[in-house]
């Protein structure tokens, strides 16, 4: 069968998103109609996007889409060219799969905004964001890439502060806006460096094709400067520590379908950018690049999960986990860079695939968890976990989907998080033999930190699921919660199925990586990843281990008769009685006696208190003895050290500097004219 070309699919997808923007703005007055047409066209566009990505990735290396101009450009140097190459296609696949699930979810979710907020505007921004993100992944020209990048940042800003009547949404939006633009500034400088190295004359010198031929031609100093600028610029978007502070503030305040998109896809544009620049453009990297990326990844992973554990705001907790997972992805990319430096292309492929597989997985389970959190928020009207509980009986389907997401993100077999972390572990382990220097110790040590991250993530999701969904409801809101609309459940169900599919059938999915590794590393997918035994991943020679999640799952089912036989043999006559929980002989348990989210993470807070610097305040009121308090007031705060020690002083410094500079702007037109004149003069002197 002859499938349409990926380019055609991509064009259809872009048109459908564009139509969604215009149509939902036109239909703004009729909110039900706007909901249907806005998210409907996004659903259609997502299906086309998946088609484009899959045909692009399966049509063999080098046969991706051809380059086409979106629009004839009227400005010199600016070419609006789009090309679906394998790397772009992989990320288009991520954004399209999420867009499909999120759009279906949104039909039901945005009904909560009826009569309160303008659904048409929300749908328009949603479509615009997806359109811009797809263009970021497919733009084949640095100028156009930056334009799409900015449209993406601005629409994301509008969506973060969509509920602008809340001050926290406004503040979060501004913080996001500032951080994002500092990052874009770095990117512009980085691309200008590449442009200059490419000749800096013809308009085509901005094209990715030209950059690709730069490779090792860049001078070392300029290459390192470009690396740092890109790492900083893309790092802000990805939310690496210590550039992450906007992320846990901005992601939770957006509507939940948007939070899922922000955490699932938007931060991945940073990963896309880094992969594009480091693996596609810059040639063989020096060792310290890989070391830096691996170190940043390790630190981000550990700190991200530690801060996540301290949260009892469900959506903030998930946002911090995004930092952790970006760290895990960067561990894969950093290891790949180090392997490239030491000329181990097969291992570099393994590490890169580990990172990119985790990118896909994180997008899916994080979006699933945010949608679950959105459903909970919808039903209980609170993000505070301490007011939830018992939701599994009131929202069984949501609870099941959230549980699958929680198991996946905790990297437990047999779901998808385990597969990609397993690949990362294997890559790190194999790295020990690639170099003779002491640098080799970094690999197992970051492997150990990855283990710590995984175990803490499991602890965190026991808390997140256990406190939110299990036991007794802790507030009236939670007690009166009810299951959400079927479309919302369908959106979550789709992602749940994706988690299970990517977990059980990694060998099928890994085949898609072949054109990608050919493009980036000139290396086909190693046989031990693409074939092995069909359903067993890896091998014992080149890779040092095998795993089969499908085998584990099937074997688990095969073992199920063991406990059942025991039961039939011994306990057929036993009865099951429903009784109260053991209450030590008191008058029965109340929800106040349950373990709280804060209590659950207390041991970890104590162990890592040097990092968290927790501040607590206890006030007792008593009549006779402090042991019989009448009233107890307890407060506990944790402030991120990065905010208090790094960003606040920086902020104060900038404010002080701008106060000094105020003298220059006295408001007199004559003075301004002189400034302009002097600037012009200087520029002319510089140019001539």
């Amino acid at each position: 069968m002859n499938l349409p070309s990926p380019t055609l699919f991509l064009q259809l997808a872009l048109c459908a998103y564009g139509f969604g923007v215009v149509a939902s703005l036109l239909a703004m007055r009729w909110e039900k109609f706007a909901n249907g047409i806005g998210f409907g066209s996004a659903t259609v566009a997502a299906v086309f996007g998946i088609g484009a990505a899959l045909t692009g990735l399966t049509s063999g290396p080098g046969n991706g889409g051809e380059s086409f101009a979106l629009w004839p450009s009227l400005i010199p140097y600016l070419q609006l060219t789009v090309k679906l190459d394998p790397l772009g296609a992989f990320f288009v696949l991520i954004v399209s799969v999420l867009a499909l699930a999120l759009s279906i979810y949104s039909f039901g979710y945005v009904r909560g905004f009826y009569g309160r907020k303008n659904v048409g505007v929300l749908a328009a921004f949603y479509n615009a964001l997806l359109l811009a993100t797809t263009l970021v992944f497919t733009a084949s020209n640095a100028f156009f890439f930056l334009i799409a990048w900015e449209i993406m940042a601005l629409t994301a800003y509008c969506l973060v502060s969509f509920e602008h009547e809340k001050p926290e949404a406004r503040n979060a939006g501004v913080l996001y806006f500032i951080m994002s633009h500092v990052g874009t500034g770095c990117l512009i400088l980085g691309f200008l460096l590449l442009f200059q190295a490419a000749g800096g004359q013809a308009p085509g010198d901005y094209g990715f094709e030209t950059f690709r031929t730069l490779g090792d031609k860049l001078s070392p100093g300029r290459r390192d400067a470009a690396f740092l600028l890109f790492l900083f610029g893309f790092g802000i978007k990805a939310g690496i520590v210590p550039l992450h502070i906007w992320l846990p503030v901005a992601h939770p305040v957006a509507p939940s379908n948007i939070s899922a998109l922000l955490s699932g896809v938007l931060i991945k544009t940073g990963i896309y950018g880094l992969t594009r620049v480091l693996f596609d453009f810059m040639g063989t990297p020096p060792n310290w690049w890989g070391v830096t990326v691996l170190t940043i990844g390790t630190i981000s992973a550990v700190l991200g999960v530690l801060y996540a554990l301290m949260e009892h705001d469900l959506k903030r907790l998930l946002a911090y986990h995004s930092i952790e997972n970006i760290g895990i992805i960067l561990m894969g990319l950093g290891a790949a860079l180090m392997f490239l430096h030491t000329h181990h292309p097969v291992l570099a492929t393994l590490a890169l695939i580990a990172g990119l597989y985790h990118t896909m997985n994180h997008a899916i389970f994080k979006a699933l968890l945010f949608l679950g959190a959105g459903a909970v928020l919808h039903a209980t009207h609170t993000r505070n976990m301490e007011e939830m509980g018992g939701l599994i009986k009131r929202m069984p389907t949501t609870a099941f989907c959230f549980l699958v997401g929680a198991v996946a993100i905790s990297a437990l077999p047999p779901l998808n998080g385990f597969v990609s972390e397993w690949l990362t572990y294997q890559a790190l382990l194999q790295g020990f033999g690639t170099t003779d220097s002491l640098v080799r110790l970094m690999f197992p040590l970051s492997g150990a930190m990855l283990a710590l991250t995984g175990a803490l993530a499991a602890a965190c999701f026991v808390k997140a699921f256990g406190i939110t969904f299990l036991a007794q409801p802790r507030s009236d809101h939670a007690a009166q919660a009810h299951e959400v609309a079927p479309t919302m459940l369908a959106g979550m169900g789709l992602l749940t199925a994706a988690c299970i599919f990517l977990g059980l059938f990694p060998t099928l999915f890994l085949k898609l990586f072949n054109p990608l590794t050919v493009q980036l590393l000139g290396q086909p997918l190693p046989g031990f990843l693409s074939e092995a035994d069909g359903w067993v991943l890896g091998n014992t020679q080149e890779m040092g281990g095998t795993v089969s999640t499908l085998g584990i799952a099937l074997m688990g089912i095969c073992l199920l008769p063991v406990p059942l036989v025991l039961w039939l043999f011994f306990g057929r006559q036993t009865k099951v009685r429903i009784g109260p929980t053991w209450d030590c002989g008191l008058k029965g348990l109340t929800p106040q006696m349950e373990y709280t989210a804060t209590g659950f993470s207390k041991p970890i807070r104590m162990i890592f208190k040097a990092l968290f610097l927790p501040r607590r305040e206890v006030q007792r009121e008593y009549d006779y003895s402090p042991y019989f308090a009448k009233n107890l007031h307890f407060e506990s705060h944790i402030e991120e050290a990065f905010v208090t020690r790094l960003y606040r002083p920086l902020n104060r410094g900038i404010l002080r500097f701008s106060r000094r500079m105020r003298g220059l702007q006295a408001g007199s037109i004559q003075a301004y004219l002189i400034y302009i004149f002097i600037t012009l003069l200087l520029l002319l002197m510089f140019a001539l």
């Binding site: 198991v407 397993w422 040092g544 281990g545 095998t546 109260p580």
Partner: protein, 315 residues
């Protein structure tokens, strides 16, 4: 690697049959060492049979999670056990996963058990879950680093059978500093993972000190049997891993009955020796305060780091 149904069946049977015996031996010997008579060595079998015959009381607040937990725990522990070579060098499920899948499956069981602790709305369960997850998290880096150290010696393979084959090779020396240090680290992790003194006290029922017992407080009847059985299988599996990888004497490399029988004898001897070591540690130490436990586990982490460093230095 032969995928053999018989091997799976035999190892499952061995795991299930042997695990209560090891627990019983530890209990009995510990009592003897403390000048008590103690329960019979076979007592855990009678306990399990009794639990299986008893009626169950399930908390009114519990959801389906509570009922699923014993099965998930039991099966994930068995699966992990099937990945560890015990009597023969090739573990029945070694194709399905090595050390990493083993750690992952144990973590899966722990994840669900901790949820089961939270489900009945009791503060004890929550306390137990919180502590269990904390201790597991602090133990994990030491465990992974020690596994990495052993894997590096086994030609960078995480496959447990491969590790064992490498351990039987000529390059493996018992008193190699890397192995001694890695063994020490893994032994501490073993104590933590199986809830032994000085980390947790399996004999206590004092609410404020217990960890594992607090989590399973609401379980009764056959669910309790499954949970207890899983705990002892987990203990057996971890001990088998330590015994076989660090003392690879006498493990059968072929599948003839004679060598398998001999190997079983060696295996039992090694297990009982390790159980004796656990008994000695339990009797001569007091339980640590909860916030001292991370110190012990960071010591394990440092030991594992030193093990890694010494593979770097002495190769």
């Amino acid at each position: 690697m032969m995928f053999s149904v018989l091997a799976i069946l035999l190892q499952t049977a061995l795991l299930l049959a042997l695990a209560p015996l090891v627990s019983g031996c530890i209990k009995n010997w510990k009592a003897k060492l403390q000048n008590r008579r103690g329960p019979r060595v076979w007592q855990p079998y009678f306990d399990l049979a009794k639990f299986l015959r008893k009626d169950m009381v399930i908390s009114e607040h519990a959801s389906w999670i509570f009922r699923v937990v014993p099965y998930v725990l039991f099966i994930s522990t068995l699966l992990a056990g099937l990945m560890v070579p015990m009597v023969s060098v090739s573990a029945p499920l070694s194709l399905f996963g090595g050390a990493l899948a083993f750690v992952g499956l144990l973590a899966l069981g722990r994840f669900f058990l901790a949820l089961g602790g939270l489900d009945p709305a009791s503060a004890f369960g929550g306390m137990g879950s919180s502590r269990e997850m904390t201790i597991a998290a602090v133990a994990e880096p030491a465990l992974m680093l020690a596994i990495f150290t052993v894997a590096i010696a086994a030609h960078k393979s995480t496959n447990l059978s491969q590790m064992l084959i490498a351990a039987q090779g000529p390059t493996w020396k018992l008193l190699n500093p890397a192995h001694v240090l890695a063994f020490a680290a893994l032994f501490i992790v073993l104590l933590a993972e199986t809830g032994r003194i000085p980390i947790d006290n399996p004999a206590t029922h004092l609410e404020l000190t217990m960890i594992h017992e607090a989590m399973i407080l609401e379980y009764s009847g056959r669910y309790l049997a499954l949970v207890e059985w899983s705990a002892s299988v987990k203990q057996l599996v971890l001990m088998a891993l330590l015994a076989n990888i660090f003392f690879p004497i006498g493990i059968a490399t072929d599948s003839s009955a004679a060598s398998l029988g001999l190997s079983l004898g060696w295996f039992l001897a090694k297990l009982l020796a390790l159980a004796g070591a656990v008994v000695l540690v339990e009797t001569t130490n007091a339980k640590l305060r909860l916030f001292r436990v991370p110190d012990l586990l960071s010591a394990a982490f440092i030991l594992a780091t030193l093990a890694l460093l010494s593979t770097f230095l002495f190769q």
